[in-house]
Symmetry: C2
Subunit: 149 residues, 2 copies
């Protein structure tokens, strides 16, 4: 079981959500505590899986990529547990989310701007999914806001 | 105009995408270069907006939150430039993406697990959007894979 999350954990998380590169020292100074305590709490948050990852949010367009979101709906008889590993191992697929509601799976592709190439990648992904019923394709043209917490 | 991105920039980005907390020293050692060069390239990537943000990917479920994606389609007559600022200033909305395809806007809400509370938040968001035509609501139950580059 996960250890209890307390107020300092939430404060650390909110600061790291805004800037994941803050050092233990900087976090300790902002929160009026010691580096040791910050380090201990962060280790715990990482071990508990509350912090899944420290990462960077890039501007895909400036890097020459296109960011595509696939909203996938499968037939009620489809087995999502069998579909997920197929998607996870696909190198073109960066994000795989299991979901409930309009879509059963949300998949993010970061691909080339060339539309013919992209069409091929999306077709290959959709062909791999047994029991696929509907595919909503959305091209992200601009990330206007990105906050985590 | 953005400065030219080169091979070392891409290598730095890929390492930071896996772990945004790597120090200049660690990055320099992995890439066989100097801290000064890493620092200079990262400053540049930040200034160019290629790196939008260093952040943390949390486990929302473990924190007691629900992660909801709203896929919004507006009528062709709707003015997205007028809608975006309304969404950006909403505290419940963490991510706002302008898009093309199945949805014109993708909005992420991180809200309470209480479904009645959540319904209220989603209703308030949808009521704020002039010219809304369709709203796809997807509840993320698990983030199985999260990579950036």
């Amino acid at each position: 079981m996960a250890d209890k999350i307390n107020g300092i954990d939430i404060k650390i998380l909110k600061l790291l959500a805004k800037n994941a590169r803050l050092t233990y020292k900087e976090l300790a100074e902002i929160l009026g505590t010691t580096r040791q305590r910050i380090s201990r709490r962060m280790d715990r948050l990482e071990r508990n899986g509350i912090i899944r990852k420290y990462t960077v949010i890039p501007n895909y367009d400036a890097l020459g990529y296109v960011h595509v979101i696939l909203g996938i709906t499968v037939k009620p008889s489809a087995n999502i547990d069998e579909i997920i590993p197929i998607l996870v191992e696909d190198e073109n697929i960066k994000i795989v989310e299991r979901a409930l509601g309009s879509h059963n799976l949300v998949v993010h592709i970061v691909g080339p701007k060339d539309m013919k190439e992209l069409e091929k990648i999306i077709n290959e992904v959709s062909k791999k999914i047994p029991g696929i019923d509907k595919l909503d394709i959305t091209f992200v043209t601009e990330t206007v806001k990105f906050e985590v917490l």
